[in-house]
Amino acid sequence: MTAARDASRQVQRKAAMAVLAHADAAAIAGHLGTIAVPAHENLREPENGIVMVRGRIGGDGAPFNLGEATVSRAAVRLASGVVGFGYTLGRDRQKARMIALCDALLQSDEFADAVEANVLAPLRSAMASERDRNAAETAATRVDFYTLVRGEG
């Protein structure tokens, strides 16, 4: 029972991370402002670092080091003891901190729904509409190619 709940929570956190990592820092801050954030402290101060990005060509290619990417990370602890972690590409430390805060809130029963409804849902729909708009713009420039059958056959 608890294991199943933990597993579903992991899935929820993963999905939230996918949204938050790609979202704009200002947008996260704006949406976070709409909920009453409980007292919290920085367990790990937001910091910048680099990670090695590894790549492989094809499914069976040997892994190689593609290059380094800047990441920011933070860990936030709520007064209740729940700890949230935030990682994001780039040097925006405040964004990493807000992601960690969202992660912590998502894990506390009290705030999970509020974060889901007030932060994640709007971000998700904004990202979806942006993607749709891009797709529509691309589709408008589509050119259909066809090959004339040459009279050899």
């Binding site: 367990l43 790990r44 101060e45 602890r77 700890v83």
Partner: protein, 202 residues
């Protein structure tokens, strides 16, 4: 759920706190026997002194294996804290550790349990961090060596009581040897491997 309620926080200002702590340790090493204060504050796990915690957050990283004495490894709390904040490996084999953190200095194992470094790499020796009861009251020790003009007097409840007798092996080992940092609360005193005991007072 990730609950690490008991895990104390690290430095509030990582860069400046680490810099000022590094400066304190460097000054202490340059002036053996003199008492230096560590101004930076951080969360501190139980059984660890403020100075020890600050030194750990400043000097430990993934390249420095750490050995904890039985008092500090009684619970996994300190190992977890070190792992989270410094990502330093906490190991069970004291002979290859870079730093040995000793909570109960009176029960310090024999020095040959630790690494003296090699002649090619004398810097790969173990640095002992000893937590002691006082750096102001107790027997006086007169020290001499590089960094000391004449002699320096160190007063404190130095444990183990035969610390300087044990450290006498440093004289024969040079350039290999063991460096010691004595910590009491937020004050530190360094005894690098070149420092010798001149006279021992009452």
């Amino acid at each position: 759920m990730t609950t690490v309620a008991e895990l104390p926080a690290g430095f509030a200002d990582k860069v400046l706190s680490a810099q000022s702590t590094f400066r304190s340790v460097m000054d202490a090493m340059a002036r053996p026997g003199s008492v230096h204060r560590i101004a930076a504050t951080s969360g501190t796990p139980a059984a660890m002194m403020r100075g020890t915690a600050a030194i750990a957050l400043t000097l430990f990283d993934h390249d420095t294996p750490i050995w904890l004495d039985p008092l500090l490894s009684e619970t996994s709390e300190i190992a977890k804290w070190l792992k989270f904040h410094t990502s330093a490996p906490v190991i069970g084999d004291s002979s290859i550790c870079s730093f040995a953190v000793i909570g109960d200095a009176g029960a310090l194992p024999a020095l040959d349990c630790f690494s003296f470094g090699t002649s090619e790499y004398p810097d790969r020796s173990t640095t002992l961090i000893l937590q002691i009861e006082s750096l102001t009251e107790g027997p006086a020790f007169e020290l001499q060596g590089p960094g000391i003009d004449g002699t320096a007097v160190l007063q404190g409840a130095i444990r183990p009581s035969d610390l300087f007798e044990r450290l006498a092996v440093n004289a024969g080992l040079f350039p290999r040897g063991i460096d010691v940092v004595l910590v009491h609360d937020d004050t530190i005193v360094a005894i690098p491997r070149t420092t010798r005991l001149a006279t021992k007072g009452g």
